[in-house]
Each structure stands twice: as C-alpha cells, then as structure tokens.
C-alpha cells in the first residue's frame, strides 16, 4: 500500500484487502475451481463427436461373458487335447530358448519378466469400507461440486498416480451399460441392481445402479520394449503395464472413497467391462484394425482400464483424430501379424469372427484363436507385433510424426503415403517370421526413461491455449 494516501484512497485500498481476505476461505475450501467444461485438452484438429465413428447397433449388443474370450475360454473354441499340445510346445520352446541363450529369452529376460509381473497392488472389486478413511472418519461432509469439477479432480488425481489419459462415460441402461460384463473372468456374475452399496459373494458381485459413471483410463506402454516382441523381453511391456495399473486402480479407489464415493474396479485382469468399447466412448481413442484402442497421444501403446463410481462426472466425448479412417488404408498390423489373425478387408464388418467377439458393432474382427495358436506355438509368451508395427507406435519427438498425426486427422487422402513412409522409415514389412523389430541384447544397454515411457508426452501434445 502506498505511504501517502488520501482518506478516499485509504478506504479504497481497505476495500481491496477486504475482498482478497473474503476469498481466502473459498480457496481453502476448493470453491474457486475452474468451472470451464472438462476436456482432455487436445489440439483443435482432433474433433469431438456425439457418436463414435464405429457404428453400433444397440439392439444387437448384449452384456458379454468375459469367460468367452480366448484368454479364459480357449477351450470353448479348441479341443482340450490340442490346448495341452500347445501348452507343451510353448513350455518346450521357452526351455530350449533359455538354454540356448536366444536373445529375448535369456535368463536375464526371464528374470525381468518375472519381476515386472510382481509388485502390483492386489486387484479388488471394492475396498473394505472398514479400512478406508473418508469424510465420515474425518468428520466432514462428502465432497460436492459440479460434474465438470469432479472430472477435473479425478483426472488430475489419476494422472498423478500413473494414468496417461482419463475419460468418462455415463452408463445408460439401453446402451453403454451393455459394456459391463455379465460374468467376470473369475466366473462371478456381475449384477446391476437398485441397491445402496456394492456387494460380493462367492457367486456374484453387485454393482449399485447409482454407480452410473465409468472412469476409463489408459496406462502407457514402452514403445522401445514392445519393439522387442514377440519375445519374453517384449512381453514384459504388457506385464509391467498391468502391474502399474493395479497401483493406479487401488489408489483411485482410495481417492474416491476419501471423497465419500464408491470405486468399483477390476477384480482381475480384464474384468468389469469391455475396455476398448469404453475407451472409444470416453474419447480416449478410436477402434483400430487390430480391434483395440488406438489413441492420438500414444497410438496403440496403452492398456485401458476402468472404474465405476457414483460420483457424478462430466462425460468426455468420442473423437475423430483420423485414426479409424487411417486403418482403412493402412493394414500394416495385418501385414505384420505372423498368425494371420487380422483382417485385410477394406471396410469393417458387422460379422463377428467368433464367439470371442461381442456382436453389434461394425469392426475389423480378429481371429483370436489363430492369434493364440501362433503365440503358443512360436513365441512361448504373448506377441504384440500388431501393436509395435502400427505407424502410430512412435514417440512423436520428430516433427514428421506430428505432421503425420495432423494430416491423418485433416487430410485422409495422404494416409497411404504416410503408411508407405512408415514402411521406409521404421518397420520393413514383411518382418522376418517371429523376429522382433529391434535387437533384444541392445535393449539392455539403452538408457531408457522411467518405465521406458515418456510421461511428458501428453502435456506436450496438449493445447494450452
């Protein structure tokens, strides 16, 4: 405050001080939060849509039994005797490769893969209310705010705990609620009922109808490690991402409980609901030719997870970043697939490839049995070549990659040119059968960042204007 004031100036300055002082409690109580609509803050050339580009016929969509996927229900599609043969082949291959020091299968690779699989928090449908601290234990009412504020809050918290992008879907009984599995991977039925609290028994789990909001989030995978697939070394990319996601999940549940709301999550890997479908509806990406989520920030280099809550959240919209259209022309994942499990069709179809697909949407459906046959016969572990060969599986540091991303979203006429450029610059197709794109032994000499990922990438890609 200036030293020589007239009486009028003095009263004016006092007024300013008073106004500032009156704002302090509001800031402390969190009431001064940004009231702008929540968005993922993407560049303007990524268009938001009311409906995703993937067409859905809701009358044909039913809640899917997760045990019909080939991950759990391989024996629904292949005779047990054949499965046993494949398992023996897989085991022999791993043993031979280990003893013969085959790059990507050596003792150090096996040890690291084992390590990557451990250390994650245990997955739980919901946390024990007795053990979680929340508003009741602290003697305050539960957090309240607008859905936009809630989305901002949850996104900030989850990104800080390891999520890459976070989006939200409001479940509607006749449509998006059908993305919740009818049966979880462990065989427990998932019931959606008009009850106040979630419940879990030996046979079923109950999701209260009021848990209408799906938090859908991605966790980044390492492009550099995935480029070593299909080997044990390459496979630890997914192992590590799953264990990291377990930590994100449990912390998010604790956070939601702390605010005074429920957090119903995946009780095991790939539980609760169909990740790519929820990811598409949350606008985290688009459905790709390899029938998984393709994101504008990380391409295919993510895994997708979900949590249901009764905290009202502002939904995020599906997007058009030109990725789905790019897949029409590209076909690189299908060319790279040694198991010939991916579609070469120009257009997606309504016809599913088998019981492992959920009907009712137009997509390029994969032959999941062929995929697993290849993995068990030739790799002894999982594959991932469709992910690593994708032109969008780049680190986006070079301007060329950013120009490609922009052009894919705005000028699809150049899609084929960019696919040809990718063949020239990054991955020569056809790949040598069963061989990784990059040297596995070299991987051990690289000075990769934490978790092998670039956590600044999303911030760099965000439009801050």
């Amino acid at each position: 405050m200036p030293e020589n004031l007239t009486r009028r100036e003095f009263i004016g300055e006092l007024g300013k001080l008073g106004a500032a002082a009156s704002l302090v409690p509001m800031v402390a109580a969190g009431e001064s939060m940004n009231t702008k609509p929540f968005s993922l803050g993407r560049p303007g050339w990524i268009k938001e849509l009311d409906e995703p580009l993937t067409e859905v016929d809701w009358s044909q969509v039913a809640r899917y039994n997760e045990r019909h996927t080939t991950r759990r229900g391989f024996n629904l599609y292949v005779e047990q005797e054949r499965i046993d043969q494949l398992s023996s082949l897989s085991k022999e291959l791993l043993e031979d490769n280990l003893k013969n020091d085959v790059p990507g299968y050596t003792l150090k690779d096996r040890a690291l893969q084992r390590a990557a699989r451990g250390g994650g928090a245990s997955r739980t449908f919901f946390l024990d209310p007795e053990k979680v601290q929340g508003p009741d234990t602290w003697g305050v009412p539960k957090w309240t705010g607008t859905p936009e504020e809630a989305s901002q809050l949850v996104s900030a918290a989850m990104r800080h705990m390891g999520a890459a992008t976070v989006g939200f879907v409001e479940l509607q009984t006749e449509t998006t609620e059908k993305f919740i599995y009818s049966v979880d991977p462990d065989g427990k039925e998932l019931r959606i009922e008009d009850v106040d609290m979630p419940e879990e028994t030996e046979d079923y789990r109950v999701i209260p109808k009021k848990a209408r909001y799906a938090i859908v989030y991605t966790v980044q995978m390492s492009e550099e490690t995935m480029a070593r697939c299909p080997t044990v070394l390459g496979s630890l990319t997914t192992s590590l991402t799953y264990t990291r996601s377990q930590n994100v999940q449990e912390r998010a549940q604790v956070f939601l409980n702390g605010l005074g709301y429920m957090g119903l999550a995946e009780s095991s890997t790939n539980a609760l609901g169909i990740s790519p479908a929820l990811g598409v509806y949350a606008g985290l990406g688009e459905l790709s030719r390899y029938n998984r989520l393709l994101t504008p920030e990380y391409g295919p280099m993510v895994r997708v997870f979900k949590i249901l809550t009764d905290l009202p959240l502002a939904p995020t919209k599906p997007i058009d970043a030109g990725l789905y259209k790019f897949c029409h022309h590209c076909k690189k994942c299908a060319e790279a697939c040694p198991g010939k499990a991916l579609s070469f069709d120009d257009e997606p179809t309504w016809e599913i490839a088998g019981g492992w697909n959920n009907p009712g949407h137009r997509a390029w459906f994969e032959d999941s049995v062929l995929c697993r046959f290849y993995q068990r016969t030739y790799t002894g572990t999982n594959c991932g070549l469709c992910f690593s060969a994708c032109p969008f599986a780049t680190k986006n540091l070079a301007s060329f990659n950013r120009v490609r991303n922009y052009m894919a979203a705005t000028m699809p006429a150049f899609d084929k040119t960019f696919k040809s450029m990718d063949d020239l610059l990054y991955t020569n197709i056809p790949l040598e059968f069963g061989k990784p794109q990059k040297d596995c032994e070299e991987w051990w000499t690289l000075n990769l960042p934490d978790y092998g990922i670039d956590t600044v990438q999303t911030v760099r890609e965000t439009d801050h204007s």
């Binding site: 550099e224 780049t394 680190k395 540091l397 070079a398 301007s399 060329f400 610059l425 990054y426 690289l446």
Partner: protein, 92 residues
C-alpha cells in the same frame, strides 16, 4: 541451445539480406531461400529428435528426404543471387 543459436544466426542473416546487404534478392530468390531453410531446419529437427527417440535409421532418412531438397533450394537461391550480383558488378 542449438535452436537458440540457429535462430540468432538466421535472424541476423535475414536482417542483413533485407536491409544492409550488397545483394538485393528478387521475390523468387526469397521464396526459394526461405523454403530451403524451412526444409533444412525440419530435416535437422527430425534427425536430432529421431536420435533421441532411438530411431537412427529414420533420422538419417528424414535428414536426406527433407534436407537434400532444402539444400538444393537454398543453393539455387544463393547461386542465382550471386550470378546476378556479379553480372551487375560487371555491367557497372
């Protein structure tokens, strides 16, 4: 630091050419020169970023694909300006 130095050098060169230089560029020499410089800078950024991204082959090819035309455009602009100024000097 590289981009700061490159920006300063380029800025000084363009300022000199536009104001105090002996050689006055024609409009098409400006177009060719600026296009060449943009392509060279694009090539250099892609090269250095690809090295960081552990994609040396992509870096080398991008340097060639964008750097070579950039050099050619910049060289054409420079040679045209040089020949014209020499002709003017001879005439004078």
């Amino acid at each position: 630091m590289f981009w700061l130095i490159a920006g300063l050098v380029l800025g000084a060169a363009i300022f000199w050419l536009a104001t105090g230089g002996k050689v006055k560029l024609t409009w098409y020499e400006w177009v060719l020169g600026i296009l060449g410089i943009i392509l060279i800078l694009f090539a250099l950024q892609n090269y250095s970023a690809s090295q960081v991204a552990l994609e040396p082959k992509a870096g080398g090819l991008l340097l060639l694909i964008f750097g070579l035309p950039g050099l050619i455009f910049a060289a054409i602009a420079g040679v045209l300006a040089f020949l014209r100024s020499r002709k003017q000097e001879e005439a004078a």
